[in-house]
Subunit: 156 residues, 2 copies
């Protein structure tokens, strides 16, 4: 199976990976969450080639993760913003950062303050039914019969 | 900046991405969480080449995400298991699956039952201080001064 066939697998992880799992894509999304909108700023921060950046932006706009809007007509310039679907990638970003904080850096480069309670917080996974924290050993995963087979047709 | 320089960036997302952001790696980790341990089983499920699978397994063992243990001497065969550091990738997997469930598939391929409360649950992000759900707009991210610069030396 090739990487570009990931979106034909009936698995939500693989389908998500088909959108964000290319090199650099998640760092581009990280920067979008930090307020970066313009092509040149993405390019400067990521240090990637124009071709690669353009490819990623096109994919994310096609996927509905970013919207593209012209902010200048002459010269034609675009800015990119997260859609609701893009904002919904936030738990992935937080989870990636949390693991890096725990295992890869000496001090967390980013700290989070929760607006409503005003406290510095570490977002964590909890059960939406009982509210208790969840780790891998706390849940039983049940696979649907079709799980991990190819999807018979595009389902999105 | 090249992809293999990601681990020199002082950013927890980039550092995590340097470990799991290669093609296929996250699906290999998904399968490890589902109980897959043996090389041939990984290969059959992922449909990737032996070279690619071996490269990924070596990286994950070097990173301390998987341990390798011989389960047969003749022929020499190894099994791979998640370490505690590997188990700590679980929130990333859940977040990837949650987004795919919401935006990429018609029905979730995997459902989760929380052992302690017995309910079918959707793990969600909450604030560890007040317990309320967290989305991107609910928090203010503060960057450390050095964030997103190269780290002066390896910090792990």
């Amino acid at each position: 199976m090739r990487h570009d066939e990931l979106d034909e697998v009936f698995c939500s992880v693989a389908q998500t990976w088909a959108v964000i799992g290319e090199r650099w894509t998640m760092l581009l999304i990280r920067d979008a969450f930090l307020g970066v909108r313009r092509y040149e700023e993405f390019r400067k921060r990521l240090g990637v080639s124009r071709n690669l950046l353009s490819d990623r932006l096109v994919l994310l706009v096609e996927e509905g993760v970013l919207t593209r809007r012209a902010y200048s007509e002459r010269p034609k310039r675009y800015e990119y913003r997260l859609t609701e679907k893009g904002m919904a990638l936030y738990p992935i970003l937080v989870a990636l950062g949390g693991w890096g904080d725990a295992y890869k850096v000496l001090e967390p480069p980013v700290t989070y303050t929760h607006r409503s309670c005003g406290e510095q917080c570490h977002p964590k996974l909890t059960c939406d039914r009982c509210g208790e924290p969840i780790q891998a050993r706390d849940v039983v995963a049940s696979l649907a019969a079709r799980a991990f087979e190819r999807v018979p047709e595009k389902v999105y």
